[in-house]
């Protein structure tokens, strides 16, 4: 993520520029002149969003003075491979457009080196979730083309295949796919090998984090009782700010929602004061990040299967947090997923935000007060000015199905049971 303060005098100009990248609200022109997203074949999702936080006054409930922060522009992309390579590619293909956009930010002059500036303004997430690590845009597209080809073949030949046992259906379709591949009509590329450096880094992270936690454990055990005692007190006294949002705010968000089967979500909030809340939040985010990287099942965040990418970023000396995600379905069904399937995790993170519905032992209650929670989140949701998805029409579950279809076609042996499951995916 690239984060830069907007020059107040240029805000209106920036908003116009960003709007010019869309065909209509919520519908980006993927080939727009400023940043032609479609040209970047490693880019899954991207967004430009102005972090215009209307809830800064919430800190008053803790008797704290209202701080003024710069108005930030955030630019996010979810990419395959090396992020630095992507930034370099961006600077090559979209230099003019990016310069035009970033020139509305503080300190960006016609002489600024674009790549250096973007690196300087890069802001790492505190926690990151990827639906299926290692699944590249190319792979997604090739597998979608495979599914389409199979659908079309089945549309014509279903009659001949309908009575056959699954293994026979599989064999026939495998033959078809191989013919198509040989004729160059279908491509199922081998994955380029994961760089060794990545493996080493990943392994170090896998082992390193638990080792550090283990090393710190005597200290953690020592302070835990105090932390828990204090947290319980705070939970009982922290105020809830969960009133219904202004209809105009809600309508403005809705205009750019539900333009595809997938939607974007951006929400910002101020953190509750005090080191207890800060440390708890950092611990939880570390846990989520670690779990998302090493533990959770492919295609699932806990029980949630509708999220493509999500990240949590802390800003301004960890005083504020922003949550970005790309999810399938409407915001209603997204909230429903959170509340009914992952409420505990949600509570653990978002209870650090001022005004969140009251939790109990950090993971209980909270979002179970469903309407308060929906109000809270809607109030903190920001309109996203520009949002790009590389594969419209496809949900995360579609991607998983297509992956399973492809993997079986490449597996060396198919049992009767596996063939049945495979045929059921079609």
């Amino acid at each position: 993520m690239i984060l830069a303060a907007i020059d107040p005098a240029r805000e209106a100009e920036l908003r116009d520029l960003l709007a010019s990248m869309n065909d209509a609200p919520g519908r980006v022109n993927a080939d727009n002149a400023l940043v032609p997203f479609a040209q970047f074949d490693t880019l899954h999702f991207a967004r430009f969003v102005i972090l215009d936080d209307k809830t800064l006054e919430d800190v008053r409930v803790y008797g704290m003075p209202v701080r003024t922060y710069p108005l930030y522009l955030a630019f996010l992309g979810d990419v395959d491979g090396d992020p630095d390579a992507f930034v370099a590619d961006l600077a090559k293909r979209a230099a003019k457009g990016l310069r035009e956009i970033f020139s509305c930010c503080d300190g960006f002059t016609p002489h600024t080196d674009l790549v250096v500036w973007m690196r300087q303004h890069s802001c790492p997430p505190a926690a990151n979730y990827v639906n299926c690590r290692g699944r590249t845009v190319r792979r997604v597209r090739e597998e979608a083309a495979l599914k389409d080809a199979l659908d079309e073949y089945l549309r014509i030949h279903a009659h001949a295949l309908s009575g056959l046992p699954p293994r026979e259906v599989f064999t026939r379709l495998l033959e078809f796919v191989n013919t198509e591949k040989a004729a160059g009509r279908l491509t199922l590329s081998e994955e380029s090998p994961t760089p060794t450096a990545w493996w080493i880094k990943n392994a170090l992270h896998l082992i390193g984090v638990p080792v550090l936690v283990l090393l710190a454990s005597p200290l953690l055990v020592l302070i835990a009782p105090m932390l828990i005692f204090r947290l319980r007190r705070l939970e009982k006294t922290d105020l809830e700010l969960c009133w219904r949002v202004d209809q105009a705010h809600s309508d403005a968000l809705a205009v750019s929602e539900d333009r595809d089967v997938t939607n974007q979500f951006t929400a910002i909030a101020s953190r509750k004061p005090g080191f207890v809340r800060l440390w708890t939040l950092m611990g939880i985010l570390l846990t989520i990040d670690y779990a998302a990287r090493h533990i959770v099942r492919r295609g699932r965040l806990g029980r949630i299967r509708s999220i493509h990418f999500a990240r949590w970023v802390l800003l301004d000396g960890k005083r504020r947090g922003v949550f970005f995600s790309n999810y399938d379905g409407t915001v209603e069904s997204y909230m429903d997923d959170f509340i009914n399937k992952a409420g505990f995790g949600l509570n653990a993170i978002f209870s650090a935000a001022i005004g969140y519905p009251r939790t109990n032992w950090l993971v209980r209650d909270g979002c179970a007060d469903e309407q308060k929670y929906r109000n809270f989140l809607r109030r903190h949701t920001l309109p996203t000015q520009v949002w790009y998805k590389a594969y419209p029409e496809l949900t995360a579950v579609d991607l998983e199905r297509n992956r399973l279809i492809r993997e079986s076609l490449e597996s060396s042996s198919m049992s009767e049971q596996k063939s049945r499951e495979w045929v059921a995916l079609l």
Binding site: L154, R155, A158, L161, S162, G163, L164, P165, P166, V169, R244, Q247, S250, D251, A254, V255, E257, D258, R259, D260, V261, T262, V296, R297, R300, L301, G302, R303, I304, R305, D328, G329, T330, E332, S333, D336, D337, N340, K341, F344, A368, D369, E370, Q371, P392, E393, T395, V397, D398, E400, R401, L404, R420, E421, V423, A424, L425, L426
Partner: protein, 502 residues
């Protein structure tokens, strides 16, 4: 704390009864012409309550308001603003229409009523035993009615003896309201239950989250509010929502001839095959039998009536792949009969499932727990019926329109009706499917991100699925609106609105 009993005399009868014995019904849409006269009529209107009477009365009158109607009656803006956003902005708001799939031929601009000036202020519903409807309507209207209201349109209904226009038995599955407030919703629900918390269907009571759904509550600062019941969750306040609920109405025109003619073409003119395919679309046979076996184990809220058990005591747990009842079949989309956890785990398995390490099947967790998305259906058919066997003939000139005045009751429109419509009825991505939506009630318009919506898949056990494409749209939306169906004390309060000004 002892939970107070529901005061049936304060609830409109439609919440408790379908008025099935009253074979005749008619709905009138009204606009307020003169608020004072309108309020006068409403204050003395003979609105039937939910008190059970023996013998049951031969007639009933019910009333519900749109947000524009409450405003026209002079309800204070501060009170009005506390109703739900869906109710206030209405069904036709552009983003909402997109979410509901009300686009193209179903778009509000195409409707016969409900859009712009054709949106009613209120609806009065008349129910009567055969032969008594006209007299009821005559007796109910009067000088105050004539002075207070402009009659926009009358929507007649037809008695089709429990069979909806496509020819299927209807109204078999309904949630059972927990009137006694015995249901414990504080723990995750592992087994499917048909008993649903009172607060899902009536405002002022805890819902399936054990919370009180937002609604207008006020300080009892005026004498007109004194009669209102207190808000259980806000001591010292009076509850305008209590014993009321939201009523969703959609007029659905059904193309019965198109439906059977399409099925007949698909099955090469073999009518019994066409009926079998129709049953796959619906998820029940024409007689109403489910396509999966009923279970021995009782389901709370289904029974003790043996006929009901025979047709409704089932779930899709043993049919996760859809080989018995297609995954996209109408009844399966409308009520997937699932629970809070797939596979009903207990103990450690439950914890593992909670953390995302459950069985991990492709179908797991694709459908939201149904208990948060139930609706109480109270609709009636309209138009003359045509038997499926006769529907194959070309339509005669002036073939009358037929369909369903869909009416449902729910306390939270966005979580119940709208979720059901968006995520289950019209979603081409329901339960991991793609390229198809509800074969009966769905739409075949291109939806955002879904260019293809006209398939239907019949899954097979150990064989390649049968996929039908090119489904026409069988149901077209002709009108719709969100109403508030108040409790009777609230009705008197709302009818007294602005009374001091006159």
């Amino acid at each position: 704390m002892r939970l107070s009993e529901v005061d049936y005399s304060d609830v409109q009868g439609l919440v408790r009864f379908g008025y099935g014995k009253m074979k005749e019904a008619s709905y009138v849409h009204l606009r307020v012409k003169d608020p004072a006269s309108a309020r006068a009529w409403l204050r003395s209107a003979p609105i039937a309550s939910a008190v059970a009477k023996t013998p049951p009365p031969p007639t009933a009158v019910q009333v519900a308001f749109t947000a524009a109607g409450l405003e026209a009656l002079g309800v204070a803006p501060s009170v009005l603003a506390a109703f739900s956003p869906e109710f206030l902005t209405g069904m036709t708001e552009e983003s909402r229409a997109r979410r509901l799939g009300d686009v193209g031929s179903n778009a509000p601009a195409q409707w016969e009523w409900g859009y712009g000036m054709s949106l009613p202020h209120l609806m009065v519903m008349f129910f009567a035993e055969s032969g008594r409807l006209q007299a009821l309507i005559q007796d109910t209207r009067g000088n105050a009615w004539n002075a207070g209201f402009e009659e926009q349109r009358w929507l007649g209904t037809a008695e089709l003896d429990g069979v909806e226009p496509f020819g299927f038995r209807d109204g078999i599955s309904q949630p059972q309201i927990d009137w006694e407030r015995r249901r414990d919703v504080t723990r995750p629900q592992i087994d499917y239950s048909n008993v649903v918390a009172l607060g899902e269907f009536l405002l002022g009571y805890p819902n399936e989250y054990n919370k009180y759904t937002d609604r207008p509550v006020i300080y009892a600062d005026s004498s007109s509010a004194a009669d209102l019941l207190p808000a259980e969750d806000a001591p010292g306040k009076k509850d305008i929502g209590r014993n009321g609920t939201y009523l969703v109405m959609r007029q659905l025109r059904q193309d019965v001839r198109g439906f059977w003619q399409f099925l007949n073409r698909q099955t090469g003119g073999n009518f019994s095959e066409a009926e079998r395919l129709a049953a796959a679309f619906v998820g029940r046979t024409r007689a109403g039998d489910p396509l999966v076996p009923v279970q021995q184990q009782p389901i709370p809220g289904i029974g003790p009536d043996a006929a009901r058990i025979r047709q409704d005591q089932f779930t899709f747990d043993k049919d996760s792949m859809g080989a018995g009842c297609p995954i996209g079949a109408h009844v399966r989309r409308q009520n997937p009969r699932n629970t809070d956890y797939p596979g009903r785990p207990t103990g450690l398995a439950k914890l593992m499932t909670l953390l995302g390490f459950g069985p991990g099947g492709f179908q797991d967790d694709l459908i939201s727990p149904v208990r948060f998305h139930r609706i109480l259906r109270r609709g009636r058919e309209y138009g003359s019926d045509v038997l499926p066997e006769h529907a194959l003939a070309p339509a005669p000139p002036n073939d009358p329109e037929r369909g369903l005045h869909f009416i449902c009751l729910n306390a939270n429109i966005s979580r119940q009706f709208e979720f059901l419509q968006n995520a289950w009825t019209i979603s081409p991505k329901f339960a991991g499917l793609t390229g198809e939506n509800d074969p009966l009630a769905g739409i075949r318009e291109t939806l955002p991100g879904c260019p293809i919506t006209d398939n239907f898949t019949v899954q097979k056990d150990g064989r390649l699925r049968h996929r039908i494409s090119g489904l026409p749209q069988f149901v077209t939306l002709r009108g719709g609106a969100y109403f508030f169906l108040p409790g009777l004390r609230a009705l008197r309060y709302l009818a007294g609105a602005g009374a001091s000004d006159t």
